[in-house]
C-alpha cells in the first residue's frame, strides 16, 4: 500500500489503494517516524476509511500502532445523521485518559521524602489485577456515579469546584443513561472505583526543569510556575466496568450489522448507525463508562492529596495540588466543525488520541478559552510525559485531535524477554526514578525500549502544529499497576 507526502508531516493514502475506501487516510508523522510505522496501521486505517458515513479523511497520529479494529492513535469523524458509531473506534478501556496535577513542591523539597511518598501512594492506591476500590458503592450509588461522573465526586466530597472546572466535559457526560448498562457490567465494576488497574496504567511523579519549559508565557497559566516544580500524572480508565460495556456492545453490534446490512473488513470494526436504537444505546452506555473513568481518576487524585498531606505534614493550601486538566483518549464525542464553508456535526472517534481544541472553543473552561486546551501526553515510565496546548490548526486538520502517548513498538511479550522486571527496577533507581509495581513481569512489559521515542512523536505534532509543546516532565517516581 502506497502513501505519499502531501505536506510536511502529512502522508496520504488515496482511496484507489483499497476497494471500498470512501475517503483518503492520512498518517501524521515525521520522515523518521513514517519509516517505522507498522504495516498493520496502513491496513487498519484504510479499513476505517471504508466505514459508512466517514467524513473527510481517516487519521493516524504519530504514536500510531496496531490495535483491534482501529489502530491505536486512530481518529475518525462520522456524520451524526448518516454515519456509524463503533466500539472498536473507542477501545475496550472506555475513557482511558490522563489527568495532570500540579503542586507547589519542588524537587529539592520532595527528594528526601520521595521513597516514603511512593511507598505510601503504592499502599493507599489499589493497583494490579482485582484490587478493591477506594469508595464502597452499592448498585444505586454506582448508577449515580455513571450519571454524574466528577459531579458525583463533587457532591460526595471527593472533588473541588476547581477540579470540576478543569476536566474535559467537567468529567460529566450528560447523556449517560444507566438503563443501558448490563448487570454484568455493574457486577464487574462495583468494587473498582478508585483503582489504577494494570497494563500501561500508572501514577507518575515528575519534575519540570526550567530548560524543559518550552512556552514560558503559557506555562504559568497552566500552573507551571516555579523552577524544578513537582507535577503528577494519573493514567487509567474505566476498569472492568468499561471493559464489560465494550464487550457487551460488541455482541449487540455484531447482530446490528446484520440487521442494518452493514459490512466491515474486520470483526473488531463492528458498528451500527449512530442514529439507530443500538447506536444510541451504546453512546449512552459509553458515557456511563466515561463518567466512571473520570470519577476513577478523581477519586485517585483525592487520595493522592491525602497521602501528600500526611507525608509532608502540610495543608492543602501549602501543597497547592490542583488539576491542570484531565483528558479522555479513548472516546467518541459529538462535535461541530466547518468543512468546505459549511458547519457540520460529526461523531469524532478517538482511540488512543486526545482532543486538542484551539482557543475560543465553547467547550473549554473560561480560564483556558483564550489560550487553548491543555493536552496531556503520557510517555513510557522511563522517559516522562508532556504538557501541550491545542491549536486552531487541529480544529481545521484533525477534527481537533492529537496524539496520546509514545506508541508501542514492541509487543508486551517481546519486552518481557528483553528485560527482567527486577533489573529494570534497579536501572530506573540508578537513573533517579523510584518505582513500585504490582507486577514485576508487568513492569518489564512497560520498559522504555518497548515504545517509540517520546521526544520524536511530540516534535512531530509540534512541527505539524496540531498541538504545541508547553513543558516536559521527567519522571522521578512511579506507581505501576
Amino acid at each position: 500500500m502506497q502513501s505519499h507526502k502531501i505536506s510536511n508531516g502529512v502522508w496520504q493514502i488515496e482511496p484507489d489503494q483499497k476497494e471500498g475506501m470512501r475517503v483518503p487516510a492520512r498518517i501524521y508523522a515525521s520522515d523518521k517516524l513514517i519509516n517505522s510505522m507498522e504495516k498493520g496501521v496502513y491496513e487498519q486505517i484504510t479499513n476505517v476509511a471504508c466505514m459508512p458515513g466517514i467524513v473527510s479523511h481517516a487519521m493516524v497520529m504519530p504514536d500510531g500502532h496496531w490495535g483491534y479494529g482501529f489502530p491505536i492513535g486512530g481518529v475518525a469523524a462520522f456524520s451524526t445523521s448518516d454515519g456509524v458509531i463503533s466500539p472498536g473506534g473507542i477501545g475496550f478501556d472506555i475513557n482511558c485518559g490522563i489527568r495532570m496535577l500540579r503542586t507547589n513542591l519542588t524537587l529539592e523539597e520532595i527528594k528526601p521524602k520521595l521513597k516514603e511518598l511512593v511507598n505510601m501512594l503504592f499502599k493507599v492506591i489499589p493497583a494490579g489485577v482485582g484490587g478493591k476500590g477506594l469508595v464502597k458503592l452499592d448498585k444505586k450509588r454506582l448508577k449515580d456515579v455513571m450519571r454524574g461522573g466528577v459531579k458525583w465526586c463533587l457532591e460526595n466530597g471527593y472533588a473541588t469546584e476547581a477540579d470540576y472546572d478543569s476536566i474535559e466535559e467537567n468529567g460529566h457526560l450528560k447523556w449517560a443513561d444507566p438503563s443501558k448498562i448490563s448487570d454484568r457490567a455493574i457486577q464487574r465494576g462495583i468494587n473498582q472505583l478508585g483503582t489504577l488497574g494494570s497494563g500501561n496504567h500508572f501514577l507518575e511523579i515528575g519534575v519540570i526543569r526550567e530548560d524543559n519549559v518550552y512556552n514560558k508565557e503559557l506555562a504559568p497559566k497552566f500552573g507551571i510556575d516555579r523552577p524544578n516544580q513537582i507535577v503528577l500524572t494519573i493514567h487509567c480508565g474505566s476498569r472492568g466496568f468499561g471493559h464489560q460495556v465494550a464487550t457487551d456492545y460488541l455482541k449487540v453490534f455484531a447482530k446490528a450489522m446484520q440487521k442494518y446490512g452493514l459490512k466491515v473488513r474486520d470483526k473488531e470494526l463492528a458498528c451500527a448507525p449512530f442514529d439507530s436504537p443500538e447506536g444510541q444505546d451504546y453512546f449512552k452506555a459509553m458515557a456511563c463508562a466515561a463518567n466512571n473513568a473520570f470519577a476513577n481518576r478523581q477519586v485517585i487524585a483525592h487520595r493522592v492529596r491525602q497521602a501528600f498531606k500526611q507525608v509532608f505534614n502540610k495543608s492543602q493550601h501549602e501543597l497547592g495540588i490542583s488539576t491542570v486538566y484531565d483528558v479522555a483518549h479513548n472516546i467518541a464525542k459529538r462535535e461541530k466543525y466547518t468543512l468546505n464553508g459549511k458547519e457540520i456535526e460529526v461523531l469524532v472517534h478517538r482511540k488512543g488520541a486526545t482532543r486538542s481544541f484551539g482557543p475560543q472553543r465553547e467547550d473549554l473552561p473560561s480560564r483556558y478559552r483564550g489560550i487553548g486546551q491543555p493536552v496531556i501526553v503520557g510517555g513510557s515510565m522511563q522517559t516522562g510525559s508532556y504538557l501541550l496546548v491545542g491549536s486552531k490548526f487541529a480544529d481545521e486538520e484533525t477534527f481537533g485531535s492529537t496524539l496520546h502517548g509514545s506508541g508501542r513498538t514492541m509487543s508486551r511479550r517481546q519486552a518481557k524477554k528483553s528485560v527482567r522486571g527486577n533489573e529494570l527496577k534497579k536501572q530506573m533507581m540508578d537513573a533517579g526514578i523510584y518505582v513500585q509495581a504490582a507486577s514485576m513481569p508487568g513492569l518489564a512489559e512497560e520498559a522504555g525500549i518497548a515504545y517509540k521515542n517520546i521526544d520524536d512523536v511530540i516534535q512531530a505534532v509540534d512541527d505539524l502544529g496540531i498541538s504545541k509543546k508547553v513543558a516536559k516532565l521527567l519522571p522521578i517516581g512511579n506507581i505501576k499497576g
Binding site: E38, H65, G67, D93, G128, V129, K267, S439, E445
Partner: protein, 141 residues
C-alpha cells in the same frame, strides 16, 4: 500434548495463544488456563473453593468466547483466580457445565502478571484437527 502456547508474532497481540485438547472439554479447560496464566502465575494459586459455571451459546465457537469472557468477568466480579477446570457439554456442544476451582485474589500471595480487559474477536478460531481440537485466541490486556 501441549496444553497451550503463547504466540509472540501476532502484531500488537497483547496476549495471543493457541490452546489444544484431545477433546473439546480439554480444549476449553486449557484455553481457560492460558487466559488465567496471562493474569497470574498459576503455581501461586491454590484450590480452596469451587465455582459452578453454566453457559450456553448458538455454536461451539460462540460458547468458547462466552467461556473465556466468563473467566475474565469472574476475575473482577467475584475476585477469583482459577487453576483447574472440569468441563461437561450437552450432546450438541451448545451448553456447558463447568467446575472452576481456585481461590480469591490475594495480591500479597499471588504473583500477578497483567490484567485481562477483554476477549477479542481478532482471529478468534476453533477447529477440529487430526489430534483433537485447536483454538486461537487474543486477549486485550
Amino acid at each position: 500434548m501441549k496444553k497451550f502456547e503463547y504466540d509472540d508474532t501476532v502484531a500488537g497481540g497483547d496476549c495471543a495463544y493457541r490452546a489444544y485438547g484431545k477433546t473439546l472439554e480439554e480444549l476449553f479447560a486449557n484455553a481457560g488456563l492460558a487466559a488465567m496464566q496471562c493474569m497470574v502465575e498459576l503455581d501461586t494459586v491454590d484450590v480452596r473453593q469451587d465455582r459452578e459455571i453454566e453457559l450456553s451459546a448458538d455454536s461451539k465457537i460462540d460458547l468458547l468466547y462466552e467461556w473465556l469472557e466468563e473467566i475474565v468477568f469472574l476475575k473482577d466480579a467475584e475476585e477469583l483466580f482459577f487453576k483447574e477446570f472440569k468441563i461437561e457439554f450437552d450432546d450438541e456442544n451448545k451448553r456447558l457445565k463447568a467446575k472452576a476451582r481456585g481461590e480469591k485474589i490475594n495480591l500479597e500471595k499471588h504473583r500477578i502478571n497483567v490484567d485481562v480487559k477483554a476477549v477479542t474477536m481478532y482471529r478468534f478460531k476453533l477447529e477440529k484437527t487430526e489430534n483433537g481440537w485447536e483454538a486461537f485466541i487474543v486477549l486485550d490486556l
